[in-house]
């Protein structure tokens, strides 16, 4: 019974990967084909080298790209749920499960932000990132579905890990945007943006957006750390013990706190703020990858 659900989960996740791949190609097509080569009559008027952006002919590709992203989200969601059913618990017991749930949270953050902001240009990066995460999860991190070790059997698993995964998804989205900011900024320093980059938002918008994402999710991350401390108190007999995972969660917290202070109080904007944002986000990634795989300490369970 539970093995059947584990297989169903795997099929959903493979399907999600296929659909994300389609979304990736649709985004790539849109980005590439929207650039229009100069036409002959334009050439005669002197604008020989001017390429233009024309979205009318890629409108369909764009719609397909977003639709595939939503479909991928639904399939991945089903895969995560099925994984949970197969193990009779929330699917957050090992790194494979964190990765598929994290990819879900990341797509969710993107789709949520897409409703409010014109972020479709980010879809290409999002689909690549999700495909890489899922690919690594399936190829390297896969573990058979199994029950939890006693220390993980707690309501706090749902609360603490859920808060941490959502925070991670949003932090990474903010990181992608800060990275895009730095790239476009260096491009603008050399001259006007190349054609494909013209559709991307202005630097100010990117700057504000990554700040808002961080400010929005920082309280949730604080909550994730505190919920972890409460859980640690009931499972391990102390609420804070400088376990490597705890230490890096603290470092991430400090780095984002510094980022928020730098922006709100000292007025950092632009490049410096983007670098600080990238630094803070990379401490989160380091915690997830390095501490889980190479680290010692109490957060290492069931192999990975």
């Amino acid at each position: 019974m539970s093995q059947t659900w584990a297989y169903i989960s795997n099929y959903f996740i493979y399907s999600a990967m296929a659909v994300y791949t389609l979304s990736f190609f649709a985004h790539a097509y849109e980005t590439a084909w929207a650039v229009r080569a100069p036409q002959t009559d334009e050439a005669s008027t002197g604008s020989l080298m001017t390429k233009t952006l024309d979205y009318t002919r890629t409108e369909k590709a764009a719609r397909i790209a977003t639709a595939m992203m939503i479909l991928g989200f639904i399939l991945l969601f089903a895969g995560v749920i099925a994984r949970g059913i197969s193990a009779h618990r929330v699917p957050w017991g090992n790194m494979y499960e964190f990765s598929i749930t994290g990819a879900l949270a990341f797509t969710g953050a993107y789709l949520g932000a897409l409703r409010k902001y014109d972020l479709r240009w980010l879809g290409l990066l999002v689909s690549i990132a999700v495909l890489l995460t899922l690919g690594t999860a399936v190829a390297v991190l896969y573990r058979p579905s199994a029950p939890l070790v006693p220390a993980l059997k707690s309501t706090w698993l749902v609360i603490h890990v859920c808060a941490a995964i959502i925070s991670g998804g949003v932090f990474l989205l903010a990181n992608v945007i800060a990275g895009a900011y730095l790239y476009l900024d260096s491009m603008e320093r050399k001259g006007p943006r190349t054609v494909w980059a013209q559709r991307l938002p202005s630097l100010e918008v990117l700057d504000q957006l990554s700040y808002r994402l961080v400010a929005f999710v920082f309280p949730l991350w604080t909550f994730a750390v505190i919920a972890g401390a409460i859980w640690a108190e009931s499972a391990w007999g102390r609420y804070w013990g400088w376990d490597p995972k705890e230490t890096w969660a603290f470092i991430t917290w400090v780095a984002y706190a510094a980022y928020l202070h730098a922006r709100v109080t000292i007025g950092w904007r632009g490049r410096r703020a983007a670098w600080l944002c990238l630094f803070a986000g990379s401490t989160f990634l380091f915690n997830y990858i390095y501490v889980n795989i190479y680290g010692t300490g109490k957060h290492t369970y069931s192999g990975l």
Binding site: V149, F223, W236, G237, F250, V254, H261, I266
Partner: protein, 491 residues
């Protein structure tokens, strides 16, 4: 001479004031915050003494000189080191120096009325002007009051302000960090922490001698231990047959909280400790204690009972030492307990499952000087065999005996043991309160906007509306547009 003394005196006060200003400046606080983050890194990459003492010892064996120097700069004890403490103490002084004056200032500001309407409203943000119909001021007053603005009635208009919660939340957030630090400090001064291995069937009496390890906070002493007694009745571990991983540990105990009181049956699990006031008892680890009887050549019992063995892997292959110091010459057994035995061509005897399905004990017998009388503390799981000679090698199943030159050993069976961790931390509730206030303060400060709105009727009979958003917070434009529509009366 006097001049030379005078100058530094004046300078000293100035220097102090200057240093204090520097320390409590935002920039310094921010640098200290980043330094704290960076200073925390080495402790997560280098093994720490209180988490992983074995690995620290390994460092000392592998490269003694390097380890010695690392130890001198507290790299094996980062979070208790002088430099780490220096950073967070400076940070907290800076924080207090920054937050307390701001709290006082904010307290006064929150009780004061909004400032008067500026003369030239058209220079402010989101300015609009139209012909008055006479009742705009009254309308605006009730509208702003109902959306909980603080209002100052000028002679020709209204000055309204909202969003003090932002600074209130901000201050509460920072004050709560101080509360967390107080909680941590209080816990370490008045707390205690100890561990004891207890065999199933045995009693744990909460006195210092029962503990295998015990540390007290500076302001707590041995007589503050609550006088409870725990009898370990039964311990059941369930394991997954596919992954061998543990699925559930259940510990049944009988508890006498105070002497003379009746004993109460309780269940302890990993995530639900026993509670005695601010003292908690946690189920931390478990293993097996083989029960052995050692007899001398005349058949007299030299040692009998369960001996706790230390698990080495997930399948609970456990090592231990059975020491018979009263025998003459002394006898020791260097032993391995395999709950579900199997043979591996490379590693020899291994365990393939953590539950005791097919238990076996392998041991070598040593005769000579155990070294237990030398006064040097020894591991109970190991034997220093440097002054001993090996006189036998055997493996036994439960119920079997083995005779050697000078005596015999019987492997009677086994019982599980549990490691009870006893922790008293009276500061944790303050830290928790601090954590809760920190989140609430953070939410208040990140999601409220401070802004001002002014409405005025000019001498020429026009209505002017304008606003000002602090920190360029978005949303005021919409708010003012809505207000203007309402004031114009849906025209």
């Amino acid at each position: 001479m006097s001049q030379e003394i005078d100058l530094p005196e004046l300078g000293a006060t100035g220097l102090l004031r200057y240093s204090w200003r520097q320390l409590t400046s935002m920039r310094t606080a921010l640098i200290l915050l980043m330094m704290l983050g960076i200073a925390a890194i080495p402790g997560s990459l280098i093994p720490q003494r209180d988490q992983n003492p074995m690995k620290v010892t390994q460092y000392f064996t592998d490269s003694p000189t390097l380890a010695l120097w690392m130890d001198r700069v507290s790299l094996f004890d980062v979070y208790g080191s002088p430099w780490f403490s220096a950073i967070y103490i400076l940070l907290f002084i800076s924080l207090i120096g920054c937050v307390l004056p701001r709290s006082v200032e904010h307290f006064h500001a929150a009780r004061a009325l909004p400032p008067k309407t500026p003369k030239n409203l058209e220079r402010m943000e989101f300015y609009s002007i139209w012909d008055s119909q006479g009742d705009e001021i009254e309308k605006a007053q009730s509208l702003l009051k109902s959306s909980r603005f603080r209002i100052l009635m000028d002679k020709d208009g209204i000055s309204a302000e909202k969003g003090f919660t932002r600074e209130t939340g901000n201050l509460f957030f920072h004050l709560s960090l101080i509360l967390i630090l107080i909680g941590v400090g209080f816990g370490s001064l008045f707390g205690m922490r100890g561990e004891a291995i207890v065999n199933v069937g045995e009693r744990f009496i909460n006195v210092p001698t029962t503990y295998d390890s015990l540390t007290f906070g500076k302001l707590l002493s041995e007589k503050d231990l609550p006088p409870f007694v725990i009898t370990v009745d039964k311990f059941v571990a369930k394991y997954n047959t596919l992954t061998n991983a543990p699925e559930d540990y259940t510990l049944n105990v009988s508890v006498v909280e105070n002497p003379g009181e009746p004993s109460i049956k309780k269940i302890v699990k990993v995530n639900s400790p026993l509670k005695f006031g601010s003292t908690n008892v946690y189920l931390q680890a478990n293993g097996y204690s083989p029960i052995v009887t050692v007899r001398d050549s005349d058949g007299n019992v030299a040692l009998q009972g369960p001996v706790p063995f230390l698990p080495q892997d997930g399948n609970l292959r456990s090592i231990g030492a059975i020491k018979v110091p009263d025998a003459d010459p002394q006898i020791g057994f260097v032993a391995t307990f395999l709950p579900t035995q199997a043979r591996d061509s490379v590693r020899g005897g291994i365990s393939v499952f953590p539950e005791a399905l097919d238990p076996k004990m392998l041991f070598s017998i040593w005769r000579g000087d155990l070294g237990v009388n030398a006064g040097i503390p020894q591991s109970v799981y190991r034997i220093d065999t440097s002054k001993m000679e090996r006189i036998g090698l055997e493996s036994l199943k439960p119920g079997e005996s083995y005779s050697y030159d000078g005596g015999s050993i019987t492997f009677e069976g086994f019982v599980p043991w549990v490691n009870l961790q006893v922790v008293r931390d009276p500061g944790k509730n303050y830290a928790l309160l601090g954590g809760i206030v920190a989140i609430l303060g953070l939410l208040a400060s990140l999601f409220t906007r401070r802004r001002r709105i002014w409405i005025r009727i000019t001498e020429s009979g026009k209505v002017e509306v304008a606003g000002l958003a602090k920190n360029a917070a978005p949303g005021l434009e919409v708010e003012i547009a809505k207000l203007v529509t309402l004031l114009k009366g849906e025209k």
